[in-house]
């Protein structure tokens, strides 16, 4: 099957919801209320006539250097100038010594795979993707990075194996992020 023909979990769920909604719409037209019997038990349900869709707006002002450098092909994080603590994810403040004086340092791009999984049943907002593998990789500096691992079969991956970080553009959302690539 070609990629175009293959149905994603999102296609299947959207199709189910369309069928369900048209069923409820028909019920509402015939009886005047958005009520319907539960498919399994027959108990009466009300189909919510209000809805919510939301996307959050998150401040990245305090760590904007991370994204600037990512666009330049560099993978950086914050290190406290006062006490030397290294943070990933990067953060603006150092709770360890109470200072807010960070320098941006480049991280090494190779590390060791600590653990991994493959996500088979996906959240709705990831349901348009094929199954993906997520891994946590430890860098020599002592911080770990969670990201997708570029591989198809989780049973072929090994804990302790070497991984290299690549900066990539994520399809289909078209934003720059990073992922792990197994080192042969």
């Amino acid at each position: 099957m070609s990629r175009e023909e293959k149905k994603t979990q999102k296609d299947m769920f959207d199709e189910q919801m369309r069928q369900f909604e048209s069923f409820v719409e028909n019920m509402k037209e015939s009886i005047g209320l958005p009520t319907f019997p539960d498919m399994k038990t027959g108990v009466l349900q009300w189909y919510d006539q209000r809805w919510i869709t939301t996307r959050f707006i998150i401040s990245v002002e305090g760590i904007k250097e991370f994204f600037d450098k990512l666009l330049d092909g560099k993978f950086v994080t914050t290190k406290c100038r006062k006490c030397g603590e290294l943070y990933f994810p990067p953060q603006k403040d150092c709770p360890k010594c109470m200072a807010s004086d960070m320098e941006w340092v480049e991280l090494s791009r190779e590390g060791t795979l600590l653990t991994f999984t493959q996500i088979n049943v996906k959240p709705y907002s990831f349901a348009h993707y094929d199954d993906y593998i997520v891994g946590i990789v430890r860098l020599p500096e002592g911080v770990s990075i969670t990201a997708w691992v570029r591989a198809d079969d989780p049973s072929k991956l090994k804990i302790g194996s070497k991984m290299r970080l690549e900066i990539v553009k994520r399809d289909p959302e078209k934003y720059v992020t990073y992922e792990w690539v197994p080192v042969e």
Binding site: K40, T41, P89, T117, Y124, V134, T146, A147, I159
Partner: protein, 399 residues
């Protein structure tokens, strides 16, 4: 040291897909039973704490909705959130209110109505339970996915197999089949579990707890009040609690839950139990947080029922059935009784109270010898942890 606190009444709804009730009705099932069990009226409850995570359900302020429906208005209330350990957080806070003398009688009510939303939306909500931006937004982890990270690491380090984990599911379904309150009241076989589809490799459908609706309630009272209400109080001997990082990438080891270990240490210390890796000997029965089969194995080790890496042997040797070293999850656990997020921890205390008072169905009743039981309730992926110790003997030197 505060005042002694007893559980004087418990209520527990049937868990499952509860399309037959709304949020108020579902909570009332437990609240009514707890009040009757304690022989109290709503006016006697001085404060009620509601544990509910929500998002997937319609009522944004469940505490007041429950209060109005159940006749608890105008008593003071608040909703608490500690993810899947919200229920234990509610019990802990109610316990502290009574122990400190702030009130004499408090109620903890746990409630979740997850099936008001379609499954992919629920998966979305629970997947966000960690660090949203750095772990969910970019990499789409799910709740089974987070625990799968632990399963992969545990299997690699200690040689556990997918079949070993399925044995946990088989045990918990065995007891779920004997609990009329359970979401799944049927046994499963190893084969059925082993051939179920992957949800988050290496975890399969039967390694996972279901999406459940349910409620539970417990009423706590001071010693003075408890003496008047009941001849059989169950005492809260100790509560231990801890938390861990939101980002899993900030953890070094994926073969144990640090928060659960710390919570257990704290609870054991408070109760004066300080042995090695055979802590099970103090208890007759335990309810542990088996949101996934791997989580039950981690619980055995974090509670020091077994040495690190040896928890899986308790499973292989069937030591956590009745008749073994320590019966665990005789309710069916989260796996088969179900996991209505905010209700789970309160439901554990209700179940263990009934176990200690020998009030549960015969074929899932633990023999009560020590008079002590333990609830282990984890929120998120080891983000929050609570260990609650219940006892038939009065703490602080009493009898």
């Amino acid at each position: 040291m505060g005042r002694n606190v007893a559980v004087v009444g418990v209520g527990h709804s049937r868990y499952g897909v509860r399309s037959d009730v709304n949020i108020g009705e579902l909570a009332w099932e437990s609240i009514k039973k707890a009040l009757e069990d304690a022989n109290l009226e709503q006016k006697d409850i001085e404060y009620f704490i509601v544990s509910s995570v929500g998002g997937w359900s319609s009522e944004y302020l469940p505490a007041v909705v429950i209060g109005e429906y159940s006749g608890l208005t105008p008593k003071g209330t608040a909703r608490v959130e500690a993810a899947c350990a919200s229920g234990s957080a509610a019990v802990k806070l109610a316990y502290e209110m009574v122990s400190s003398g702030t009130v004499d009688i408090a109620m903890a009510v746990g409630l979740e109505k997850m099936n008001e939303s379609p499954t992919p939306v629920v998966v979305e909500f629970i997947g966000r339970a960690g660090n949203y931006f750095w772990e969910f937004h970019n990499f789409g982890l799910t709740f089974p996915g987070y625990y799968a990270l632990y399963a992969t690491a545990y299997m690699d380090k200690y040689g556990a197999t997918e079949e070993d984990f399925c044995k946990v599911a088989v045990k918990n379904h065995y007891y779920g089949a004997r609990n009329p309150k359970a979401h799944f009241q049927r046994e499963v076989t190893i084969e059925k579990c082993m051939t179920s589809r992957y949800i988050a490799w290496p975890l399969k459908l039967y390694d996972c707890s279901p999406i459940t609706d349910g409620s539970s309630a417990v009423i706590l009272a001071s010693e003075e009040v408890a003496k008047k209400l009941t001849d059989s109080p169950v005492w809260i001997e100790a509560v231990g609690e801890a938390s861990d990082t939101a980002n899993l990438s900030k953890r070094d080891d994926f073969t144990y839950l640090r928060a659960a270990r710390l919570a257990a240490e704290k609870a054991y210390k408070k109760a004066g139990l300080m042995d090695g890796y055979n802590m099970y000997k103090y208890f007759d029965v335990a309810e542990v947080h088996d949101c996934f089969t791997i989580a039950e194995v981690l619980a055995y080790e974090d509670l020091r029922f077994a040495e690190p890496g040896k928890g899986i042997e308790l499973v292989r040797n069937e030591e956590t059935y009745i008749g073994g070293k320590i019966p665990v999850n005789l309710s069916g656990g989260l796996k088969a009784k179900g996991h209505p997020i905010g209700a789970t921890g309160v439901g554990m205390v209700a179940e263990l109270t009934n176990q200690l008072l020998q009030r549960v169905e015969k074929d899932r009743q633990a023999p009560i010898k020590n008079g002590r039981a333990l609830a282990h309730n984890v929120g998120g992926t080891g983000h929050y942890a609570y260990v609650t110790i219940l006892s038939l003997s009065k703490p602080n030197g009493g009898v």
